[in-house]
């Protein structure tokens, strides 16, 4: 037995309350981390609301398992009543310069809105673009999207002077609904 009784920074009642809170938090975190297992699924029946409210969801897969071999973004064009297609500026376009100091959250849209499962978000984006141009007095008839990507050359090719290859693929077109 220790000669000195253990002493802590807080009293016993607070230790019990904090212990319960910590245990609950760790249980919810564990359930989230192992959500693909049977145990995780069972635990999440009880912890899901807490997890969802606090925003415990975590994804640390950036640049994993492999970093992207290309820079991919979404290009947007708007069709005017005159029949002319104009470029809708990219969110980060005006922010681009030799040095980017500021992080633009809107840039995430350009990076992730090009996949097939994001059609719903593109449709919503269409409505916003139509409203914005309408408010600016430039009525837009339709909006179309294109996935663009810049393929990074392999290091050995880059040493030989190879340039990045720009490619693109047309996505869908949505009419402006009034």
């Amino acid at each position: 037995m220790s000669a000195t009784p253990p002493r802590y920074a807080i009293g016993p009642l607070r230790r019990v309350i904090l212990s319960l809170a910590v245990m609950w938090h760790l249980l919810a975190s564990t359930a989230h981390y192992f959500r693909s297992t049977d145990l995780g699924r069972d635990l999440r029946k009880y912890t899901r609301k807490y997890e969802s409210a606090l925003g415990l969801s975590q994804n640390w897969n950036m640049f994993a398992p492999n970093p992207p071999r290309s820079s991919i973004w979404l290009e947007t064009k708007a069709l005017l009543k005159s029949g002319e297609w104009i470029d809708v500026p990219r969110v980060t376009e005006n922010a681009d310069g030799p040095v980017r100091l500021r992080y633009w959250r809107g840039g995430k849209e350009e990076r992730y809105l090009f996949t097939d499962e994001k059609k719903g978000l593109r449709r919503r984006k269409t409505a916003r673009i139509c409203d914005r141009y309408e408010a600016e007095g430039v009525p837009v008839v339709a909006v179309k999207y294109r996935r663009a990507w810049l393929r990074t050359p392999k290091p050995e090719d880059a040493r030989d002077g190879a340039a990045a290859k720009l490619s693109g693929k047309d996505l869908e077109q949505y009419p402006c609904r009034r």
Partner: protein, 350 residues
């Protein structure tokens, strides 16, 4: 029959407990030492101020993009608050851009309270609620840094972090009220677990990637145009040139193994220092070359929880003496806790 034998149910229980192996009997004590051993309240004060400043920078930089990313009028609208009441976002309650800006400005109040240390945990709670509103208001626009800050704010709520280096402490001193010099390690432990989990999760995910084993991952990462801080200045030729390329290959392997081994490395002091030094180098490099918002700063903030609290205390003492800020010894709170910790050893950071 022995006269002192276990005759009652309580006695049987006590006997059963006594018969447990020593390491099992010691578990409750070990749990309490792990979570509730005392640390200098000034460390929590420093963590509060720095975390508040990181959150403040997020608040300010978000201001210009508000109409685009938040509120029902947002172009990129993806609120999760529509799915459940637990995902409430106050940003969804406003109709106009002007109201959105006013609401956003209101959140400066908890941020300032947190940084200055006014009103106990109220400021930090307000900042956490703000981050939760951001999270539910548009899950799309958030990044890993936001996630770390949100969970760190939550961890901060477990301790009375305005007990030092705060307006609260200054007022208490003026009033002659007792101050807490020591706080439980609960926040430290939660932050340590979060940071260690983050590294091992990303390390395991990268282990399946051929580019990480081949050593080319950092080359491709640096060349991803959308993340580049110097998009026009650093070209493919620069990153592919032999001296730079060799550094990137070594950096790739160091990153992979450092992330995978981080939880083990921080258990022993010499390797902990090595792991944290590599981390400082990696995160500083990321912040200097890539657009990843507050992620690097939030990660480095978490390293404070891994630093030896006794050494930090002595450092603070020296700095305060040198600056002439060392206050007269205030009376200790009944719950002030021991100084130094009871067994005479430092409360281990990990």
């Amino acid at each position: 029959m022995s006269p002192v034998g276990p005759r009652t149910r309580a006695g049987k229980m006590a006997s059963w407990l006594r018969d447990l192996p020593a390491h099992v009997r010691g578990l409750p004590g070990a749990w309490q030492r792990f979570w509730f051993a005392g640390v200098d309240a000034r460390i929590l004060g420093l963590m509060r101020i720095l975390l508040g400043l990181i959150a403040l920078s997020t608040h300010i930089t978000l201001y210009g993009e508000l109409p685009f990313v938040l509120g029902p009028q947002a172009e990129l609208f993806s609120s999760s608050s529509l799915h459940s009441w637990t995902n409430f976002s106050i940003y969804d309650q406003v109709e106009s851009v002007e109201a959105l800006r006013q609401l956003h400005t209101l959140f400066l109040i908890p941020l300032v309270l947190m940084i200055l240390g006014v009103g106990g945990r109220l400021g930090c709670l307000g900042v956490l609620l703000w981050y939760m509103s951001l999270h539910h208001g548009n899950t799309w626009m958030l990044n890993a840094g936001d996630r770390l800050v949100r969970l760190s704010c939550f961890a901060m709520l477990f301790t009375a972090h305005t007990s030092a280096w705060s307006v609260d402490a200054w007022v208490m001193r003026k009033l002659g009220r007792p101050l807490r010099r020591m706080l439980p390690m609960t926040t430290h432990r939660l932050v340590q677990i979060q940071i260690a989990w983050m590294y091992i999760a990303t390390g395991v995910a990268k282990w399946d990637g051929a580019h990480w084993h081949r050593g080319t991952a950092l080359y491709y990462t640096m060349n991803t145009e959308v993340f580049q801080r110097f998009p026009g200045l650093l070209s493919y030729e620069f990153f592919a040139s032999w001296p730079v390329y060799i550094i990137l290959v070594i950096g790739t392997w160091v990153t992979l193994y450092w992330e995978l081994l981080f939880p083990a490395l921080v258990l022993w002091r010499p390797t902990r220092i090595l792991a944290l030094c590599i981390g400082v180098f990696v995160h500083t490099g990321i912040a200097a070359t890539m657009m990843v918002a507050s992620f690097s700063f939030a990660s480095l903030w978490g390293y404070i929880a891994y630093l030896d609290p006794d050494r930090l205390s002595r450092l603070f003492d020296r700095v305060e003496r040198r600056l002439g800020l060392a206050p007269p010894e205030p009376p200790l709170s009944p719950e002030a806790g021991p100084t130094p910790p009871p067994d005479g050893r430092s409360a281990a950071p990990a």
